[in-house]
């Protein structure tokens, strides 16, 4: 189901990623003040944009989940947020390196984008602890969706608040997207596309893996039930931190896991 087109997507990701890196290292000119270090910009900014976009996307999927009650939307929301968290770690690390390189400190408080990103990241870091502290799969999905929508709305609001708090006190040290030379803007765009593709590919891989695992689990359960003769079998309790989706299985199997 999710596996379709995975190969094409993977290949195009690799190709665009290679083009983007080629542009970054061989095409785009060195920036006058920061020199080679500024090239981290083409990784850091797309990472941040994709991570924030993924958080909001998780919120949109969560709205769809609450509307349709289709567990697959919950799984998509989970995967979107999970992947964004990973991208978020990378954003914070690259941001820190850049800050150290250009301002001499690993962390600066007068860069509102970085600060608001940290707050958003800290909020989303509670998504998984919240989710997996709830046993019942249906309630887990519902509560996670409520969280995802709240946090998704928080992303722009928090950004505005932190910007207000910083912008009027300190002047922005530099502005990353205004007055960008054409070659830099083009490279940034290609890097962004590559990052979006990477995000999409990784999400698709995770969705495919989860879907396949659920199918295997459902099939194994069916097999166990047959071999015992219809009696419910206590299946091995999976230790995975995975949203429960049992597509194509009987509804009784959804809540059929006995508490051990």
């Amino acid at each position: 189901m999710y596996g379709k087109g995975l190969r094409a997507l993977s290949i195009s990701t690799v190709v665009v990623m290679a083009i983007a890196l080629g542009l970054v290292f061989f095409y785009v000119p060195l920036e006058a003040q920061e020199g080679f270090l500024q090239k981290i910009f083409y990784v850091h900014v797309p990472l941040a944009i994709v991570a924030l976009g993924g958080f909001v996307l998780g919120g949109v999927f969560a709205i769809l989940h609450l509307r349709t009650r289709d567990a697959r939307w919950d799984m998509r929301s989970y995967v979107a947020i999970h992947m964004s968290l990973i991208f978020g770690v990378a954003t914070l690390i690259t941001g820190s390196i850049w800050a150290k390189g250009s301002w001499g400190h690993w962390w600066v408080w007068n860069e509102p984008t970085l600060v608001s990103f940290l707050i958003i990241f800290l909020l989303y870091a509670t998504y998984q602890p919240l989710r997996f502290a709830i046993e019942d799969p249906e309630r887990q999905a519902r509560y996670a969706s409520v969280f995802a929508i709240t946090a998704g709305a928080f992303v722009p609001l928090n950004y505005i608040a932190v910007n207000l708090a910083t912008a009027y006190v300190h002047p922005r040290v530099f502005s990353s997207t205004h007055n960008l030379p054409a070659s830099m803007a083009f490279t940034l765009l290609v890097s962004l596309i590559a990052m979006v593709l990477l995000y999409a590919t990784l999400c698709k891989y995770e969705l495919t893996a989860k879907y396949t695992r659920a199918q295997v689990r459902a099939a194994r359960r069916l097999l166990e039930q047959r071999s015992v003769g219809g009696a419910p079998v206590s299946s091995r309790r999976t230790r995975s931190a995975v949203p429960s989706v049992y597509p194509g299985s009987a509804p009784g199997q959804v809540a059929g896991e006995p508490a051990s």
């Binding site: 909020l123 709830i134 609001l157």
Partner: protein, 253 residues
């Protein structure tokens, strides 16, 4: 929960419905439900005294801790605003953590769900109760703060500070109620409540402490800066709406 609503949700198909008496089908007005729930909430708090005294005591103790941690006898300006708001926030967290515990553990949710009333009534009632707790907390904590730590006299700052406190409280009540409902039926609710609430409350801290810091200086304050009041008001409004829209999804089982 609401004794004035004896009927349960009808299981009969619509065709059989006209057989039921008309009087039993008019739903209880939401305002009545909210009033009943709020009354219950405040009564329970009055009789058990579980939240508010603890919150107030915590705030006063925290001021003492800050005195030693900062090694300062008096503070003003940014520092004063920050310490006041951090203390209020952490004290509020104690109340937020306890807000739904009785409902989750002793069947309050079940009772409420059986009653044929608007779900969001519970949100409004709980948020109003939390707001009341916060107001009482501040009636204790702000004078204690002025007495123990604040350098300039608090009298001239009070009207402005009152406005900032109310706007801040509204936001804390809306977010706190949503977060409390989200966290209460999880395994690690004592941990998750603050973890979820703190990042969501950062914009409130920004707005409230920036708005109150010019009030807490020696030279005469002119009133809270409008920009931060606007930020607080907008944030309250947006999160009030979000909580209102999402709360019913937390109450389905």
């Amino acid at each position: 929960m609401s004794a004035s609503a004896p009927q349960t949700r009808s299981q009969t198909p619509p065709a059989a419905a006209p057989a039921r008496s008309r009087a039993s089908r008019t739903p209880t007005p939401t305002r009545t439900v909210i009033r009943a729930l709020l009354r219950k909430e405040l009564l329970v708090e009055l009789r058990t005294l579980e939240s508010v005294p603890g919150m107030s005591l915590f705030a006063v103790t925290t001021f003492v801790v800050f005195h030693f941690a900062l090694n300062r006898n008096t503070i003003d300006g940014d520092e004063a605003a920050g310490i006041l708001w951090v203390t209020l926030l952490f004290a509020a967290m104690l109340g937020i953590n306890r807000l739904f515990v009785a409902d989750a553990d002793q069947g309050g949710f079940d009772g409420f769900l059986i009653a044929p009333v608007e779900r969001s009534a519970l949100l409004v009632a709980k948020a109003a109760a939390l707001l009341a707790y916060l107001v009482v907390l501040e009636i204790v904590a702000v004078p204690a703060f002025a007495l123990l730590l604040l350098a300039p006299p608090i009298g001239q700052a009070l009207p402005g500070l009152f406005a900032v406190l109310i706007l801040g409280d509204l936001g804390v009540a809306a977010i706190g109620t949503l977060v409390a409902a989200l966290a209460v039926r999880t395994r690690a609710r004592d941990l998750l409540g603050p973890l979820l609430a703190l990042p969501l409350l950062v914009p409130i801290v920004i707005g409230a402490s920036r708005a109150s810091s010019p009030l807490l200086v020696l030279s005469h304050p002119g009133g809270p800066p409008g920009r931060w009041m606007l930020l607080l008001g907008l944030y309250d409004l947006v999160f009030g709406l979000i909580a209102y829209a999402l709360f019913e999804f937390l109450l389905e089982d």
